[in-house]
């Protein structure tokens, strides 16, 4: 394995670790807002690292640009969707979780 391969592998592993952390966060966080946070953060960073890792392996400039494009599109989509999901949750009256009041609350009632 050449130095580039090692670099590539390190980025790929870091990316995978972000995905793992995001999934754990999705499972363990208490409400929709924190879960979205975990998901979007980890997805974007994780995907970013994986794209960088793959860039070292790209055999042409076109392929490299396509990879970057994929990442940018995923960033835009994930930001949009996370915002919209959170927005709808808030409009439905789901209050953010607070450590002193566990359980499901509605912000329009409190």
């Amino acid at each position: 394995m050449s130095g580039l391969d090692w670099l590539s592998a390190i980025f790929l592993l870091v990316g995978a670790a972000f995905f793992l952390a995001g999934t754990v966060g999705l499972l363990r966080f208490p409400d929709v807002y924190t879960r979205l946070h975990a998901l979007a953060k980890a997805d974007n960073l994780g995907l970013g690292c994986i794209v960088i890792g793959l860039l070292f392996q790209a055999d042409s400039l076109a392929a490299a640009l396509k990879l970057v494009l994929v990442w940018l599109l995923a960033l835009a989509a994930s930001a949009t969707v996370s915002f919209l999901v959170a927005h709808r949750a808030w409009r439905r009256g789901i209050a953010p979780w607070r450590a002193d009041e566990p359980g499901i609350r509605r912000h329009d009632e409190s």
Partner: protein
């Protein structure tokens, strides 16, 4: 190395499926099920089945996951008790029934024993199986030239076994009918009215949604076109269209509702009608779904285009009718 990867993947598949069925929290179960779907997509890739991998990721994990997550809020929400209090055990899992009575224990034990026996018998049977007498891949390869497309899976799906696909499209349409019949007993859902303050905060995401939706259209068109000679096709393209529609709905740019108007109904029926019309038209000089060889490629493309539109609308409709119905 490959064997190690396969064993690891299979262990992860079994673990996620088992946990999805046993973990007490329903939310966790659904997330684990989505993980299971994504692992299945990997398994399909390992089995040289990229078409299924695409469909599994988009439909099996993606759309099913979205439907399940959306339903979760309605199915998990605490059951209101007669007293009006929320029973504490139902907040977390909602499955909170008391400890099962003796016959339940007995029957549960019986079911587990039967399931284990079934699994073992299946495993034994699979290991003992000799090679099959007929090799269909060879038959497919021999008939590819006459099929009108260059990708074997598309050839099977829309030509050799196109009749299955015709009925399958009817199944999908039928599910939407059923969902509309069940969810649409009430007044049609209205698009939520967004207050001015919220509208301002929606500006940027709406702009992005407006940019992403045409891009999704482009991707769907590419998948559709690519299906003729490489993995892709109407179902994958339709799933992308459906995702775009769901995005627009979340951004408040597309109303959800339980009673489609006639233009929409026509769009939903369009794919099936095109398929039926082609099936009937080619019968003039042959049998059901026998394309004239010179026209096969064009007819398949026509059918797939109609299907992409209808499948996109139907998959989006399944989501919107379900999520629109309960939100009066």
């Amino acid at each position: 190395m490959n064997l190690a990867f396969d064993l690891l993947l299979i262990a992860a598949l079994l673990w996620s499926a088992g946990r999805a069925l046993t973990t007490p929290d329903l939310f966790r179960a659904v997330v684990l099920f989505i993980v299971f779907g994504l692992l299945m997509a990997l398994a399909w890739a390992r089995l040289d089945a990229p078409d299924i991998a695409l469909a599994e990721a988009a439909i099996g994990a993606g759309l099913t996951g979205a439907l399940l997550l959306d339903a979760l809020g309605h199915l998990r929400g605490p059951v209101r008790r007669k007293s009006g209090l929320i029973a504490p055990s139902t907040v977390m899992s909602s499955e909170g029934a008391g400890p099962p009575a003796f016959p339940t224990y007995f029957l549960n034990g019986l079911a587990i024993v039967l399931a284990v026996a079934l699994g073992l018998a299946l495993a034994g049977a699979l290991l003992l199986l000799p090679e099959p007498a007929i090799s269909l891949p060879r038959e497919v390869a021999a008939a590819m030239d006459a099929s009108g497309v260059a990708h074997p899976v598309t050839a099977v799906l829309l030509n050799f076994r196109g009749y299955d696909t015709l009925l399958e499209v009817a199944v999908l349409w039928l599910a939407l009918l059923g969902v509309l019949a069940v969810a649409g007993g009430r007044a049609p859902g209205r698009a939520p009215v967004t207050p001015r303050s919220a509208r301002a905060s929606l500006k940027v995401p709406r702009l992005l949604a407006r940019v992403l939706a045409p891009l999704a259209l482009l991707v769907a068109g590419y998948l559709l076109w690519a299906g003729a000679h490489q993995p892709g096709g109407a179902f994958q393209a339709g799933a992308v269209l459906a995702a775009a529609a769901v995005l627009l709905n979340l951004a408040g740019l597309l109303p959800g509702g339980a009673t489609p108007r006639w233009v929409l109904r026509a769009g939903l029926g369009f794919g099936l009608l095109v398929f039926l019309a082609v099936a009937a038209a080619v019968m003039g000089q042959g049998v059901l779904l026998q394309y004239p060889p010179a026209w096969a490629g064009a007819l398949i493309m026509l059918i797939e285009t109609g299907l992409t539109l209808s499948i996109g609308l139907t998959l989006a409709g399944l989501f919107l009718a379900l999520s629109g119905a309960s939100r009066q």
